[in-house]
């Protein structure tokens, strides 16, 4: 079954991030002071506490850091059945909670290479989810 794509809570602080999802871009904040990337978006760097955070384009690639097939969805996911909730370590370093989609939930594994896909919420923004990188997609130019 198709996962629900609920409309996120968008604030002035996160508006830039969500606007970019409409055009299929995954943005991440990088701290100008300590150079660390930060997830989730916010007003200050939680590592060095600088407020000089810059939006940069993420590669959209990462690896599965941990994963669970859950059947206990709540709220918008109450009737979602079994789905994958994963912690994906982005190539830029931070780990983000997300879903792994476009595959059998039982076949998602830690260490798996994944890439971002955007699921339209119907409200002008899209949810960044991830799918396994296929062999074909992994070959440059393929």
């Amino acid at each position: 079954m198709t996962l629900p794509a609920p409309v996120p809570d968008i604030t002035p602080e996160t508006e830039t991030f969500w606007k970019a999802t409409a055009t299929g871009r995954l943005l991440i904040q990088r701290c100008a002071e300590c150079d660390r990337c930060v997830w989730y978006p916010r007003f200050l760097c939680p590592a060095c506490h600088s407020t000089d955070l810059l939006w940069t384009a993420a590669s959209g690639r990462g690896t599965v850091h941990s994963t669970t097939v859950t059947s206990r969805g709540i709220l918008d996911y109450k009737d979602a059945g079994s789905y994958v909730l994963a912690l994906v370590e982005l190539d830029e370093g931070p780990k983000m909670l997300t879903n792994v989609v476009e595959c059998d939930p039982a076949e998602v594994f830690i260490g798996q290479c994944v890439e971002v896909v955007f699921h339209d919420t119907g409200a002008g923004v899209a949810l960044p989810r991830f799918r396994p990188v296929t062999e074909a997609a992994a070959i440059p130019g393929a």
């Binding site: 996962l3 629900p4 794509a5 609920p6 409309v7 996120p8 809570d9 968008i10 604030t11 002035p12 602080e13 996160t14 969500w18 660390r36 990337c37 930060v38 997830w39 989730y40 978006p41 916010r42 007003f43 200050l44 760097c45 939680p46 590592a47 060095c48 506490h49 407020t51 850091h65 941990s66 994963t67 669970t68 097939v69 859950t70 059947s71 206990r72 969805g73 709540i74 709220l75 918008d76 996911y77 979602a80 789905y83 909730l85 994963a86 912690l87 982005l90 370093g93 931070p94 780990k95 983000m96 909670l97 997300t98 879903n99 830690i110 260490g111 949810l127 989810r129």
Partner: protein
């Protein structure tokens, strides 16, 4: 002991805004924090104690500590309405006087003018992670499962090992006439129960119960005058852990720090502990606490719990002799209170005779509140048999 002269207000800051339609509530907390710390000539990195009211968004103090990237060893988000900041000054001074912390930050932020968040109970607004967690279907068992899955991957922990924790709790619960689940279960029954969030099965999860509990603490003079056996609080430690901007190790909890502080204050070591009350919202919660409190090496928890290690009265580390949250009680979805209560029974020698640890001198109770993987409040208390 008095707080007189033990603490000083070093920084104070009032936000200049009166209408802040473009600010999230967490951002307001951040701006006033930076303002007050700048006034004091300190930074967020200097802060080791955090105070806010219960109106802070999401998991309150935990959500704010996560957002701000605080390293907190003392937290208080108690509430008494608008006067609570005066109360927090008193609590902070007491904590400082007791050596629990050195730099306490107290923050207030809200937007009743430019939002509809005006009615009681609606003042908190959205937590900072609101746009980035619920939309992906995050639920409580799943965030615990993510930590468990990573532990399985990294250390080879098995479902059967996790199940041993539930088995021990169930063996204890059979003696507790008030326990919700009194029937002993086997490893096989745990691992064949329905999967909730892999690798956690239904029987890896705690019970859901109504109920409650309470404690009374008194000073030494009063304790001495009471006929009832009192239990000495030997040590305490607490630590907030969170996502560190996405750089967290999800197999490690704040018990590393809260346990260290509690042991240090109590002047005992894990080897001295006769009984443990471990937060067991899920089997993985207890397993991580066993490791992080230092009862075994990191990653060895799965092997440690084998061979009846947790069984009372004669296991290496008798735990949750009331049946814990896994079998007995998890009132209001909060398991910390019952962990202390059973530890008090053990130290008084008043646990059920079948599970009373003989000569129980030192008991430790540990709580892991909030959520693994994202943000959690960890607190450890060590109790001793010695009366006043």
């Amino acid at each position: 002991m008095s707080i007189r002269g033990k603490a000083f207000i070093a920084g104070a800051y009032e936000h200049p805004g009166r209408e802040l339609p473009d600010h999230s509530i967490p951002r307001i907390h951040a701006e006033v924090a930076l303002g007050a710390l700048a006034d004091a000539g300190l930074t967020l990195a200097d802060v080791d104690a955090y105070f806010c009211a219960a109106d802070a968004p999401g998991l309150g103090g935990l959500a704010m500590a996560d957002y701000l990237g605080l390293r907190v060893r003392y937290m208080d988000s108690s509430d008494m309405g608008g006067s609570v900041y005066l109360s927090h000054v008193g609590h902070a001074a007491a904590a400082i006087a007791a050596g629990k912390c050195n730099v306490a930050l107290i923050t207030l932020g809200g937007r009743p003018r430019t939002t509809s968040l005006r009615a009681p109970g609606q003042l908190m607004g959205a937590p900072p992670e609101a746009g980035f967690e619920p939309v992906f279907g995050l639920n409580v068992s799943a965030v615990y499962a993510l930590a468990a899955a990573r532990h399985v991957y990294r250390y080879g922990t098995t479902s059967e090992q996790l199940a041993e924790i539930k088995v021990a709790a169930s063996l204890h619960a059979q003696h507790n006439e008030n326990a919700l689940l009194r029937k002993p279960v086997t490893v096989e029954q745990v691992v064949s129960s329905p999967m909730v969030s892999s690798p956690l099965h239904r029987l890896d999860c705690c019970v859901v119960t109504d109920g409650g509990g309470a404690l009374v603490l008194v000073n030494e003079d009063i304790a001495r005058g009471l006929d009832r056996r009192c239990v000495k609080v030997l040590g305490h430690g607490e630590a907030i852990e969170h996502s560190h901007g996405g750089w967290q190790d999800i197999t490690v909890t704040g018990a590393v720090r809260s346990g260290r502080d509690a042991f240090e204050e109590a002047r005992v070591t894990p080897a001295d502990v006769d009984y443990v009350g471990l937060y067991d919202s899920f089997t993985i919660t207890a397993l991580l606490a066993i490791e992080d409190l230092g009862f075994c090496a990191k990653g060895e928890g799965g092997r440690f719990v084998l061979d009846g290690a947790l069984h009372a009265p004669h296991g290496v580390l008798p735990f949750n002799t009331d049946g814990g949250s896994l079998c007995n009680n998890h009132p209001a979805n909060r398991g910390g209170m019952t962990k202390i209560i059973e530890a008090v029974r053990q130290v008084r020698g008043e646990a059920h005779p079948a599970v009373q640890v003989p000569g129980c001198e030192i008991a430790l109770a540990h709580g892991t509140g909030g959520w693994l993987t994202t943000r959690m409040g960890n607190a450890t208390v060590i109790l001793g048999r010695e009366d006043a």
